[in-house]
Subunit: 371 residues, 2 copies
């Protein structure tokens, strides 16, 4: 957490829940999709972490903007944007889809929600996929409409989320499978709820349609959550790194391809579907890729915040990568982080050195993900 | 200036000058194009304002990312993206160009730099025009390459900028016309310098190519600037609003068309050039637009920060707009701001009321821009 302030303006958009998180004493934000994402409350990241593993939290993730694609050519456009085979996608199923360009470079990694045969939402990470989709559709002359709907996800995360959500929305919500979604009655309106979240502790995301309902939804959850020791929270850096959950822009960027990110199983290379970047991806699959995301454990005192990547070297000082997200895990009693690691060294157990900004060179080991 | 912190991570990219602005005690940032923009130093905004009007400042505006478009179809693609007639654009001239979509909605408002007949940079505001341009080019099958080059503008702004820059880069720099650019020897490398900047006090922008040269360039300017009382600065909110300089995402968004923003003179409606959104724009030109950006002066004590737009009403309480950027001007001895104002009321001198978050309803008047 930096001590430096964030200058607020209309351009850095608020969510329908920002007033609430301010009342709850939010201490810091990040900016995702030109929108505020809370990043710290009164508790430390470690207190937040233990609470998230034991109870239930309410997260303002309104910044997970939806790119809505609908119309006769919607399914065709969505398939053109991702190497994942969408032929078996069915309504009610969320799918994690890498988005790549014509050179197989990663543009984003949203969750795709198939709402109907010709109606999709992409719940995106931090790049303007709306403009990418609109540009492709306009250039190709496709019959689709593309927009950002009035939808703001609110996440209910943690092991007690299922109890809380079934209290509010009925027992059928227990039957939702991981990454699946359905429509529930929320405040007298039909709303999409998915069993999902940027966390490995279980939970739900309510894709609230209607900014004006934000306050009421927050209050509804908050009041019912008191029995479950609910607290306001946000994606927790310790939990996310332990769980091996990546962040576009941090662990990988437009400089990386899906194989480097470990997304091989989401890359269909056959000739019977078509998407932009397939030829480039086939070439990478044939030639091999030369680096891949790995966990790294590293010793010493608790690492300082990783606001700026930490260089990773071999023991003899050769630069090989950088920790793009890193923190101390109180459960594993070790510093942990994520780095691209070049091929000869990406075997689990390979010794490395992590150079933190406090001046220490810390011995480390390449690890599997999740930790 | 909010007291709330900004969570730093690799995704919120640093510029080659971020280390320097941290050494100078930067107090706050905004995020533009996924990159840090300094927003406050040790001085107050008012001290910064007077200094900028009298001396010279060095601004880290590396976040003004370039979208580079080159190749045989580059000129065609650029023209398809803007209603501005680019037939007379010549190498060495910067042009302010609204970018619109097929519905004539504003996507961005960059400065276009024509570097060669088939080679352009767009120096963009805060939306991923790289993805828009790439999507269009891929969909249309154009023969262009589109990328974000290793270029990071550094602005030298204020009335003494011309003396400082001619000391460093020779007297010919005095001959550069406003918005024009040329190549100069900077640290032994050829670099583009434009007479431009997000400020009305005069100055230059060095489009530094080469991240690795950032430290050296900063030091070069800083050392030579001591004779001119140079200080680190950033776009100054008082100066910007007084000067009527808009900010995409603040004063206008994808919900607005260029006529509403006062960009009529940049909209060529003839049939002899083609661009996306022309039919929509012709319709708006024919039917008339119903709101337009205006200045608003408003009374009372110094307004609180405008992190969240201030509602604007008629004297009898009807909602008519919102102040999207507002502050107290010590020179005009009035609060000033910018708002979209509906047609019947946009005449200069129309009385309005501005409702600030400290609970006051302040009498105001519609004003011309610049103030």
């Amino acid at each position: 957490m930096s001590e430096t302030g964030l200058n607020m303006s209309r351009r850095i958009r608020r969510t329908p829940y920002t007033d609430k998180v301010e009342i709850h004493g939010v201490r810091g934000f990040s900016v995702v999709n030109h929108m505020l994402l809370p990043k710290a409350f009164a508790a430390t990241v470690e207190e937040d972490y233990w609470h998230l593993r034991e109870h239930v939290q309410i997260w303002d993730v309104g910044c997970q903007r939806q790119v809505e694609i609908k119309g006769p050519d919607a399914a065709r456009l969505v398939q053109l944007m991702t190497p994942r085979d969408l032929r078996k996608a069915h309504v009610g199923q969320g799918m994690y889809i890498p988005l790549i360009d014509e050179n197989a470079c990663m543009l984003n990694d949203p969750i795709l929600l198939k709402l109907a045969e010709h109606h999709f939402w992409m719940s995106i990470a931090d790049s303007d996929i709306l403009l990418w989709a609109k540009g492709l559709a306009l250039g190709l002359g496709l019959d689709v409409s593309i927009d950002e709907p009035d939808v703001y996800p609110l996440a209910i995360q943690g092991p007690k989320a299922v109890e809380l959500m079934s209290d509010l929305f009925g027992n059928t919500i227990r039957d939702l499978k991981y990454f699946h979604f359905d429509t529930f009655d929320v405040l007298g309106t039909p709303q999409i709820i998915a069993r999902s979240g940027y966390c490995k502790q279980g939970g739900f995301e309510i894709y609230l349609k209607g900014w004006h309902l934000g306050d009421k939804l927050w209050d509804l959850i908050w009041k019912a959550g008191k029995d479950y020791q609910i607290e306001p929270g946000c994606p927790n850096l310790i939990e996310r790194i332990e769980g091996g959950l990546f962040s576009w822009g941090n662990e990988f960027t437009r400089d990386n391809n899906p194989f480097e990110c470990g997304f091989e199983s989401f890359c269909y290379l056959g000739d019977d579907i078509d998407y932009f970047g397939k030829a480039a991806l086939q070439k990478i699959a044939h030639d091999g890729h030369h680096q891949e995301l790995r966990g790294v454990t590293f010793e010493g005192d608790k690492t300082p915040p990783c606001g700026k990547p930490f260089p990773v070297t071999t023991p003899d000082g050769t630069n090989i990568g950088q920790i793009t997200s890193g923190i101390y895990s109180p459960r594993l009693q070790s510093n942990i982080g994520i780095s691209m690691i070049p091929k000869p060294l990406w075997q689990v157990g390979t010794p490395v050195v992590v150079h933190t900004p406090d001046g220490y060179s810390r011995r480390g080991l390449v690890s599997n993900l999740p930790f």
